[in-house]
């Protein structure tokens, strides 16, 4: 009888539930492998030059080595605030006219509600202006940090062997960041959005090459070649919230993985 009793009757219920899950989705070995790989000495952050040689002198450029990290953190802030904004934003640029005959559109009205402006036709979003402001300023901070990060890498010559590939990745990320900013300020459907989209259409139509190329690019990005259609906001929305984040995040992970593997380049 005693042999049949479990040694730990209290833990049985716990094990029953988690055991049921673990039998079907065995996470434990994977967690162990992950922890081992993180905790082994080979996977720790490589020591910096200063730490390795126990230097007493610290190079005065070192504060500039945090710029890549700052741009990544700013990116995370834009992701979080962008997810919140996505609940309230309406990607519809169709021109509608108020009773006074003033043109407006749903995108602009939804942004007015987020901002808590007086022309909001629906209920205003609580603290929406803070969320939108953080999205705005974090985007500016990200772009500025990316520019300065690139300057730092250039002036310290950190793009040289074996980091050429990472430099090329970084240039692509810079262009993606600019596209992020551009597609972002086309979304609110205001006058800046309309004017910038017109410039964008003209520039894509003028793509160096035969006419069909420019027309294809303009149609793809702005849903129109000659006049500004309402759909450009939807196209830019798709770029801004799906394509650019997907490609950008993947490349950022690659970029930082390469830094981890190769170590930080420190000029002597």
């Amino acid at each position: 009888m005693a042999k049949l009793l479990p040694r730990d009757p209290v833990g049985r219920g716990n094990r029953f539930l988690f055991g049921w899950i673990k039998e079907r989705f065995p996470t434990v070995p994977w967690a162990d492998v992950t922890r081992q790989s993180v905790e082994t000495v080979q996977r720790q952050l490589p020591r910096s030059h200063t730490e390795k040689y126990e230097l007493k002198t610290v190079w005065y450029w070192y504060p500039l080595y945090c710029l890549g990290g700052i741009s990544f953190i700013a990116f995370l802030v834009t992701v979080i605030t962008g997810i919140i904004l996505g609940f309230y934003y309406v990607p519809d640029g169709t021109d509608i006219f108020t009773s006074a005959g003033i043109p407006t559109n749903a995108a602009k009205l939804s942004v007015a509600c987020i901002n808590g402006d007086s022309d909001c036709p629906w209920s205003p979003v609580p603290f929406g202006f803070i969320i939108r402001g953080m999205h705005h300023w974090a985007a500016h901070m990200m772009i500025a940090a990316v520019f300065l990060h690139m300057c730092r890498v250039y002036f310290t010559g950190a793009y040289k062997k074996p980091r050429e590939l990472n430099w090329l990745l970084g240039v692509i990320l810079l262009l993606l960041t600019l596209l992020f900013g551009y597609s972002g300020y086309l979304l609110p459907g205001n006058d800046l959005s309309g004017g910038a989209a017109t410039i964008g259409i003209n520039m894509s139509k003028a793509s160096p090459g035969p006419p069909w190329l420019g027309e294809f690019v303009a149609n793809l990005l702005f849903a129109g070649t000659d006049v500004l259609t309402a759909n450009y906001i939807l196209r830019m929305y798709w770029f801004h919230v799906f394509i650019l984040p997907l490609v950008g995040t993947l490349l950022m992970i690659l970029h930082m993985a390469l830094v981890w593997v190769q170590g930080v380049a420190e000029p002597h």
Partner: protein, 442 residues
């Protein structure tokens, strides 16, 4: 083992030397663990950044503005990071336009219409192409900016160029605010001349920092700037009035007008500072040039500001006239003197600080100490001495100034090619040139 003992005595506990050797090393990656060391520090910085963002967004709400209007074309200014592209699109009108005909005739490859938008696209992609090619063209190992002056100067040139094109994007606003600027052409010259000033001045300064041969790098840029300035001044004062069809006598009469005299005085002051600088860097040795130019620059700048203030307060009409005459050619009339001042300053900086900069590269590997024969006999050098580092820090004189044999063994083993014995010889020469210490009059 004797060898083991020797190795322990030489290498053990010395920074930069691993304590174990061969494939059995266990201290291969003794880094800081990410958790918790790095995470704590990063968390503080991240929270600080988020706090700054909160503060910014609470204080300055970005305005939305009116909705887009399909009937009107609004005047817009893009965000700052796209201004350069907008400026390049605007300046593209100076390029020739036309149509490249279709080579096949089936519309697959052409016709390519070469218009303003075409040139705008090409110009916008121009700064990107060198960025892609950079790691393939510039090889070698990473270096400080001062050790690669050409690369650094090119980078600063490109940054200045991007600033210029961003400025051109808002040319309407600039011309509206400062109508005497002389129109679009003055702003177009911003693409060419100021970036060159920035690039050349920084190249000269970085060469100086790297302790390279300097003479011609001071004389030629300053001389060319002086020459361009003289041509421009001649054009403003003599050629343009004569071209306008005036006789020499009438021209002489206009030269007596008070506003013309004020203009001439300002231009002569600018000319004077350039001529004196050119004379100093060409005919004087460095020390004398520094001794002459340092007080001269200070006095000149104060005098120039005072004269400008005086004319502005006593003769406002003359002041306006001077502005209208000089601002359209400001790239030469004001840019060249500023360029000369800065180039002379960075090109003539004291070499002692330059040497200190070179010694600063030392990362205390200690090889110089191991190689130095003097440290084997000097009693106070038997401890953890490090020639270059200690000299740089002035904590210990390294090998004392007059005991060094200048055998260059330290430079031969130095992984960074720091020329320690050059430094010692230079210091000795300086000590001798200054003369014996006071009390031993000779």
């Amino acid at each position: 083992m004797e060898l083991e003992l020797v190795r322990q005595r030489v290498f053990e506990e010395k920074p930069g030397f691993p304590r174990q050797y061969g494939p059995d090393r266990t201290d291969r990656q003794p880094g800081q663990p990410f958790w918790p060391h790095e995470v704590y520090r990063d968390l503080v910085l991240i929270l600080l950044m988020v706090a700054i963002l909160f503060l910014l967004s609470a204080a300055i709400t970005p305005p939305v503005g009116p909705a887009k209007d399909p009937t009107i074309q609004p005047f817009i200014v893009p965000d700052w990071y796209l201004l350069f592209s907008w400026g390049l699109l605007k300046v593209a009108e100076i390029f020739p336009t036309g149509v490249i005909p279709d080579p096949l005739g089936n519309g697959l490859l052409g016709p390519v219409s070469v218009d303003t938008g075409f040139w705008g696209d090409i110009l916008t992609s121009l700064p990107v192409i060198p960025l892609f090619l950079l790691p393939l063209l510039d090889r070698g190992r990473e270096e400080r900016p001062a050790k690669a002056p050409l690369r650094s100067a090119l980078g600063l040139y490109l940054i200045a160029w991007i600033f210029s094109s961003s400025l051109y994007a808002i040319n309407n606003l600039v011309i509206e605010k400062w109508p005497f600027i002389g129109g679009d052409d003055t702003l177009k010259w911003f693409f060419v001349i100021p970036p060159l000033y920035v690039g050349i001045a920084s190249y000269v300064g970085l060469r100086r920092l790297g302790y390279r041969e300097m003479y011609w790098w001071r004389v030629i840029p300053i001389g060319v700037a002086l020459w361009l300035f003289s041509v421009q001044a001649l054009d403003t004062f003599v050629l343009q009035p004569l071209d306008a069809g005036r006789s020499l006598g009438a021209h002489a009469a206009t030269l007596a007008l008070p506003q013309i005299q004020g203009l001439a005085f300002i231009v002569l002051m600018l000319f004077a500072v350039m001529v004196v600088t050119f004379y100093a860097v060409t005919f004087l040795d460095e020390r004398r040039a520094r001794a002459l130019l340092k007080p001269f620059f200070v006095v000149w700048i104060v005098l120039f500001l005072l004269v400008g203030k005086f004319i502005e307060s006593t003769q406002p009409a003359s002041f306006d006239f001077i502005l209208h005459q000089t601002i359209p050619s400001m790239h030469l009339l004001y840019g060249a003197p500023i360029f000369v001042l800065i180039t002379a300053y960075v090109g003539l900086r004291e070499p002692y600080s330059a040497y200190e900069y070179l010694l600063n590269e030392c990362y205390q590997c200690g090889k110089c100490h191991t190689a130095c024969p003097v440290t084997k006999v000097e009693d106070d050098a038997l401890g953890g001495l490090n020639l270059v580092y200690n000299t740089f820090k002035k904590q210990h004189d390294g090998v004392p100034l007059w005991t060094c044999l200048a055998c260059d063994a330290c430079s031969a083993v130095c992984p960074l090619d720091i020329k320690y014995s050059d430094y010692i010889l230079e210091e000795r020469a300086k000590a001798l040139a200054v003369g014996p210490p006071s009390g031993r009059a000779s």
